[in-house]
């Protein structure tokens, strides 16, 4: 009884400051808030010139809000680790409760279609990653397409062929590609200009900003794809 009362009191104590903070927020959709008064207009006006990418979304995600995205990819990596911790947890002495059903043979039509489409999907994914600074897309989008492609191929191919698509060792090393790419580019900024994750804004150094953005995009793409593939392989338990 006392414990319950205590829980209620604690919940209220935790909720009250949050409610108070919520009441201080500007009304939803208000045009008076900072994002509408000066931040968005600034991005739209200067983004294409100073941030290194013609695509404003890429500018905001990787340049203006770079820290945000770096921690986002770290969260993705950490959540993969959490998923694996649960999936690969096999305490000794506990039998697997479920029996794996007999796999259904893959239909010839599905196998043929996936194989014919695969090179085009791969090409599109690479295009999306490398062109993310000009057209909609980028590392996250291209990476998920590559991941989905490898998963689709793994479903129609034999186990050996599917493993050869992305060797286990390479996959293990590339899982952390996204945070590492961010870290390397961030350190480059730290050493060259004295600020972590700094992108040069001068006119003549724009190619360098673009190059840094592309390196991060490739890192996010490769890392994201490997995370998806790892989870898929862990769930199939092979």
């Amino acid at each position: 009884m006392i414990r319950r009362a205590l829980i209620v009191v604690l919940l209220i104590a935790a909720a009250a400051p949050l409610m108070l903070a919520m009441s201080q927020l500007p009304p939803h959709g208000s045009s008076e808030t900072p994002p509408y008064t000066h931040i968005s207009p600034y991005y739209l006006e200067h983004g294409a010139e100073e941030a290194g990418a013609e695509n404003i979304v890429t500018d905001v995600i990787l340049n203006y809000r770079g820290f945000d995205t770096q921690h986002e990819v770290t969260v993705i990596f950490t959540s993969m680790a959490a998923v694996l911790a649960v999936l690969l947890l096999d305490p000794p002495g506990r039998q697997r409760a479920v029996q794996v059903q007999q796999p259904v043979p893959v239909s010839t039509v599905v196998r043929f279609i996936v194989r014919v489409l695969a090179p085009f999907i791969a090409l599109f994914a690479i295009y999306v990653i490398l062109n993310g600074h000009v057209t909609p897309g980028g590392g996250f989008q291209g990476g998920t397409i590559i991941g989905a492609l490898v998963i689709a191929l793994s479903l129609v191919m034999s186990k050996e062929d599917a493993d050869a698509l992305l060797p286990r060792k390479a996959e293990h090393l590339l899982q952390a590609a996204a945070p590492i790419a961010f870290f390397v580019v961030g350190l480059a900024g730290l050493f060259a200009w004295g600020e972590y994750l700094y992108f040069p804004r001068d006119e003549e150094l724009r190619w360098l900003s673009t190059l840094m953005l592309i390196i991060i995009e490739i890192g996010i793409g490769v890392g994201g794809a490997c995370v998806l593939i790892r989870i898929f392989r862990a769930m199939r338990a092979d």
């Binding site: 909609p136 980028g138 991941g147 689709a152």
Partner: protein
């Protein structure tokens, strides 16, 4: 016309989500859920977010469906 398209998609989304919750056969629910993601993808595209649409198509309709199917393959495949 544009608004009509949006309304059609949203009605389809609501229908899909109700169906996902009510279906007892988990395999059917997964397929309907994949339809939900594809509809959502069209909606993103129509609302001017092609990058989100790409991710939705690849992850929502593709990867999660496969993961759900694997999970169903390892369990009974029917809601009690």
């Amino acid at each position: 016309m544009s608004t009509l398209f949006d309304i059609t998609l949203i009605v389809l989304l609501i229908a899909c989500s109700i169906a996902v919750v009510r279906l007892k056969d988990l395999l059917a629910a997964t397929v309907v859920f994949s339809t939900y993601s594809l509809t959502m993808c069209l909606l993103w595209l129509h609302r001017g977010a092609p990058d989100v649409a790409m991710t939705e198509a690849a992850v929502g309709a593709g990867v999660t469906t496969v993961l759900f199917l694997i999970a169903i393959g390892r369990t009974t495949g029917h809601e009690k």
